[in-house]
Amino acid sequence: MDFSFTEEQELFRKSVREFCEKKIAPKANEIDEKGEIPQEVLEDMASFGLLGITIPQEYGGSGADFVTAAIATEEIARADISMATAVYYLVEAGWGFLINRYGSKKAKEELLPDVTKGKTFLGIASTEAAGGSDVAAVSTTMAKEGEKLVINGSKTFISGVREATKYGGGYVTVVKTSPELAHKGLSLCYLPVKDVPGITTNVFKQMGREGISTGAIIIKNVEIPSHYLIGDWNKGFYYAMEGFNCARPLVAAACIGAAEKALESGIEYLKERRVFGSPLAKFEGMQFQVAEDYAKLESARLLVYKAAWMLDQMYTKNRFSHKEINKAVASAKLIAPTVAFDVIKDVLIWHGAYGYTKEAGLEKGLRGVASYIMGAEGAQNIMKLIISRELLGKDFAPY
């Protein structure tokens, strides 16, 4: 057994950290306050090869594996603990990988180079008002009409709606293609949203990670070319589950990255801040919290990297069954956001009233991480359902 990263991965972490400290961290407060990632940050990330990092070199990506992609996610979230920049990065890393795997050659050549250049945004549109994490309940439809595919319906709580309508780009979209077949009647397609007749969008005000928008897409008789179908007709549910398995370890990596940074700054504060004649760090009550937070965070981190490593093993060496991958990924996504939230909350409390101010720069981390407890990329209870389904067997599935 060997827990070490490769020499290249270690050097990459060092490089990404330096990049993020120079290009992202100085803008972190601005990103949260203005509710937007400055375009030059995205351009810098693209030139540094971070956007669409898992996409192969032929489409301008770096062909990174998931451990490497998770390293970058962790480092980006350390620099911008609001999670906004990490979210922008990770949805493209996760779903760009899926388009490359199942999309048509024509679609890949047309779409992916602009994603890796930072010219367009790529996201995931799965959730609908009537069904959140219940992907099988999707009611947005797609039908074949001659050479075209026609989509009707709506998607909500979708990350990057403003970015995709501003810069261009679109979504890996889950649609119903055979309503009578439940989850076996779903397909996946690419849905562009900028200047597309029949598309209207709106953006929600949220409690956190405001640098990347969240909103709704209303789709009325929208025509897309047939090469925008991703993979086979009616196989979309399986592709979507695979895509979520790719994105979720990165989501979990972002949570632990934000919490690690908060914990480090908390430890520094405990050593500096003096009360009753001693630094706070001298008090056993504080030390026990530091130890518990570190241990919890390290456990979550191990789950994250194990899930990412298992994905890489599956894709490159055909190791591990889908059941094993599902358990590992869902465990990482179940544990990491909750642990990260608890750690950042503790660090805020150590800071006392200062922690409650925006100047302390910590509360945005708590608000950002909360999005992944509330449900983004699959609610916590769905993670529990996935794990228990794999442990108990399908016969005991409640639905």
């Binding site: 020499e7 290249e8 270690e10 490089s15 120079k22 540094f48 770096s62 490497t68």
Partner: protein, 253 residues
């Protein structure tokens, strides 16, 4: 051992191709070194190591010259494979690593010994390493090799077989030139070193790293101990502003 083609290759338009050696020191990240409160000795355990800042500027400049004029960049690194990989990822063609636990004279002697066997046109060094700040390696090495040295370069340009340098002398700068082969030490103003991307890092794993084992040369200065400077605060508590004013006035006089 070192088969490197010489040299200044001149083309009709005066374009030059040069082979550049960059001397690099790997140091502990000073921000991660702590001090033992009892002995005042530095604790380096667990501290990350990195390429000394100005050496990175020298490396960046070498790669920029290569990108503009062609040629090869070789890195001579007092340090580990980790530093060599970073130098290769930044654009170095080949790296040589050696271990040098000695003083400036010893290091310059080691470097001269290695460089004597290599054909080169230009040697670049950082103006100093940021852990010891002796500013001596470049000039001592040039002396040992018998080549001209231009220190504190904030800008440089290759023209035919000459290197023209703007030397940063704090309150002024001077422009100086030297015929190649020459040695130049650079300041941090000269450029902003690139941060290697994932593809550059992965590409570097195919490049060659050679370990050189050497006999430790005699040092001019023997290091007996390293101890942190103790900063004792006076902790003067003043009751009013008048008192402070009196102290300032008395110190002024």
């Amino acid at each position: 051992m070192f088969i490197v083609p010489f040299v200044v290759r001149l083309f009709g338009c005066g374009e030059v191709i040069v082979d550049i050696i960059v001397c690099i020191k790997q140091i502990y990240d000073l921000g991660q070194i702590t001090v033992d409160t009892a002995t005042k000795h530095p604790i380096t355990e667990g501290a990350a190591r990195k390429i000394s800042d100005f050496d990175k500027n020298a490396l960046e400049e070498a790669v920029r010259i290569k990108e503009k004029h062609g040629g090869n960049v070789f890195a001579l690194i007092g340090g580990t494979k980790e530093a060599a990989k970073e130098a290769l990822a930044m654009g170095t063609d080949e790296a040589f690593i050696y271990s040098a636990d000695t003083d400036s004279l010893g290091t310059a002697t080691i470097l001269a010994g290695i460089i004597h066997k290599i054909k080169y046109d230009l040697i670049l060094c950082g103006e100093a390493s940021i852990d010891e700040f002796s500013f001596q390696i470049g000039p001592r090495l040039a002396e040992a090799l018998g080549i001209p040295v231009l220190t504190y370069a904030r800008k440089m340009e290759l023209k035919d077989t000459e290197i023209i340098v703007e030397r940063n002398l704090e309150n002024r700068y001077e422009v100086a030139k030297a015929r190649l082969p020459a040695l130049v030490t650079v300041t941090k103003e000269i450029n902003e070193p690139r941060i290697p991307t994932l593809l550059q890092i992965l590409g570097a794993s195919k490049k060659r790293i050679t370990e050189i084992s050497l006999e430790k040369p005699e040092a001019g200065v023997e290091n007996l101990s390293i101890t942190a400077i103790e900063m004792k605060r006076k902790e003067v508590i003043l009751n009013d502003i008048e008192e402070l004013a009196k102290i300032i006035m008395s110190e002024k006089s």
